[in-house]
Structure formats: structure tokens, C-alpha cells
Amino acid sequence: MRALIVMCAGLALVAAAVAAVVWSGLVDIEDTSTSSYSGEASIGGPFELVNGDGETVTDADFAGKPLIVYFGFTYCPDICPTELLAIADALDLLPAATAAKFQPLFITVDPERDTPDVVRDYVTSFHPNMIGLTGSARQIKRAASAYRVYYSRQETDDGPYTMAHSSYIYVMDGSGRYVRHFRMGTSPDEIAAALETVADPA
């Protein structure tokens, strides 16, 4: 009898542990979906920035073209190249005519180091259609806040400063409306599949 009670208690503990794991998993999933899609209506919007030739460009210059937008900086050895590669690889997975409908944009959050010629050169290593954009500190701040992108300068002990920043790939439709975004590490296949539906809505 005693053994039975101990066994039952043991089973109950296991069940509780399983429930706790499942529950925490669900909470994670819920958190994920909330952060992925909260306020989708307010992501993106008008921006005024500076292209690689030092010319002012605005969202109106890209009217009618779906945008793929990534905020990053060139003094970033790891994440930014990885995410820009994901965009480039996704575009290459699409038929050329579909890929050509999109305008991939790299917007720096580090205008101090990323001058027009720096962003112009940088993007050529990723995709021939990619455009690099910079601007004044104020222009960058406005564009980033329109896309709800957080960024901040981080001083280091004795090395050059770095930037902390949100790392998402945003997809906007031809009317400038937010479609969706991808979190870091999303595969090019997944991005390509989503782009296909944007280019050719069912």
C-alpha cells in the first residue's frame, strides 16, 4: 500500500513536471506570436533617407514596389551579413521575374560610420538589386521608429563602439503596407515562399 502511494506521488510529480514544461512551451509560443504580429498596422511608413550617391530618397521613390527592409550596420561581423545573405539567397530562390519585383533595402542604424559610399559599396556584395541607405541621425531615427526598430550605441571598454539593434527582415507590399516580418535565423526557403505570395497574391 505504501509503495502504491509513493508510486502515485511519483507519477503525480512527473505529470506536474510534464504539464509545467508544456505550459512554459505554450507561453513561449504565445509570446512569440504576440511579438511577431503586435501592431502590424503601424509598422513602416514614410521615410526620408540618403542613398549611396548622397541623394535624398523617400518611400515615394519605391511606390508600387514591395520592399524587403533590413536595419543593420556594416561594423557588424556576424548577424548583419547573415541576415542580408538570407535576403539575397531568398531572392535567388525565386524566378528572376518574381525576384525583380522586390526592392531589398539595407538601412544603417550607424550613420556615423556608414556614410553613403560605405553603404553603397557594402550592399553590392550581397545582391545586385539591393540598395543601401543612410541619412542624418534624425532621418535614421525617424525611419527606425516607423519600423519599430530599436537601436542604441554601445561603448566598449577600449575598442570601437558597437550597435545593439533589433534584427528583423520586414516585407512591405507595393502600397507600403506591412505584410510580415521574419525573425533572425529564418531560412531563405521560408522567406522565398512568403515573398512569392506577396508578389502574386492568391
Binding site: 511579438s35 556594416t74 561594423y75 557588424c76 561581423p77 556576424d78 548577424i79 551579413p81 547573415t82 542580408l84 545573405l85 539575397a88 539567397d89 531572392l91 535567388d92 528572376a96 525576384a99 525583380a100 559610399d117 560605405v118 559599396d121 557594402y122 550592399v123 553590392t124 556584395s125 550581397f126 545582391h127 545586385p128 538589386n129 530599436y150 554601445q154 566598449t156 571598454d157 575598442g159 570601437p160 558597437t162 545593439a164 539593434h165 533589433s166 534584427s167 528583423y168 525573425r183 533572425m184 535565423g185
Partner: protein
């Protein structure tokens, strides 16, 4: 003639010295350093990254304390941390633990070596040396082979 011979010998020796790099794993103490690679740097980039796997078959924990490379003004050990959707990159001043019987994997999105203010671009197909210093195993110089940024270069000839 002797000069020419000496030059020929020097060339042969250089080739010989480079040969172990193709095997591309290194042993120091109880550590195995596997497949040190870097990525071609985007045009104009002033920083580069290094990746590898460090395995510890020993019975004592070890620690990667520092990295040095003539390729850059500074070299650091970094960790990427996702913090509420924000990516933060931070140096690991205390180094990176290599647990006994375990390994440390440096790969995109996780840990990496950061080469700051690189002296020249990292070009695909080329290689550079860097010295890694461990708390117990000591120092070892390894060769990082530079991989192309784009695995498929299709983007280059697609036109606009």
C-alpha cells in the same frame, strides 16, 4: 645557383608548412580545434568574423582566453545575445569556457571571433593565421580559410 636552390627550397618548405591547414584540424593539449573558417568580408567592411569548433576531450575544463591576428588591429571573442528581439554583441573579457568532455561552437548567430579594423579584405579562397590562447592548453596558431560570402553567386549575373 645556390641562391636559386635556396629559393626553391624555401618555396617547397612554405608549401609543406601550409599543408597541415588542408587537414584543417589542430590539436593542442586535450583540445581539438576543428575547421577554422571565416567569411569573405563585404565590400568596404572593416570587420570580419572567425568561426570554429573547439572540443575538449580532457578531464579538466579549459577556457579560450584570447585571440590575436596580424590581420586586424584588434581581435576579440564575442557572444551574440538576443535580448527581447534586440541583438547585442558583447566581448567576453573572461574568455569562453570549453567544458571538460564538451565543446564550444563558434558559428553565425552565436559565439564568434571578431577581427576589428582588418588590414585588408578577407578574400574567398585565401586564408589567414590567428593565434588562440587557452588557459590550460596554451597557445596554438591556426589557419582560417575564407569562404565565399554567397555560396551561390547567381545574384551576380541575374542583372537588374
Amino acid at each position: 645557383m645556390i641562391k636559386q636552390l635556396a629559393r626553391g627550397l624555401a618555396v617547397l618548405m612554405t608549401i609543406g608548412a601550409a599543408a597541415p591547414a588542408y587537414a584543417h584540424d589542430y590539436k593542442v593539449g586535450s583540445l581539438t580545434l576543428d575547421h577554422p573558417v571565416s567569411r569573405e568580408t563585404p565590400k568596404g567592411a572593416r570587420v570580419g568574423a572567425g568561426y570554429l569548433t573547439i572540443e575538449n576531450i580532457g578531464e579538466a575544463d579549459d577556457r579560450l582566453l584570447s585571440v590575436s591576428c596580424a590581420c586586424a588591429e584588434r581581435s576579440e571573442i564575442h557572444e551574440m545575445k538576443m535580448d527581447g528581439g534586440i541583438m547585442r554583441m558583447q566581448a567576453l573579457p573572461g574568455g569562453l569556457a570549453i567544458p571538460a568532455g564538451g565543446s564550444a561552437v563558434l558559428k553565425p548567430g552565436g559565439y564568434h571571433l571578431m577581427f576589428i579594423e582588418i588590414k585588408q579584405p578577407f578574400v574567398a579562397g585565401e586564408a589567414f593565421e590567428a593565434t588562440l590562447t587557452f588557459e590550460k592548453a596554451g597557445s596554438v596558431t591556426v589557419e582560417f580559410t575564407v569562404e565565399p560570402l554567397r555560396k551561390s553567386k547567381s545574384g551576380d549575373h541575374k542583372g537588374h
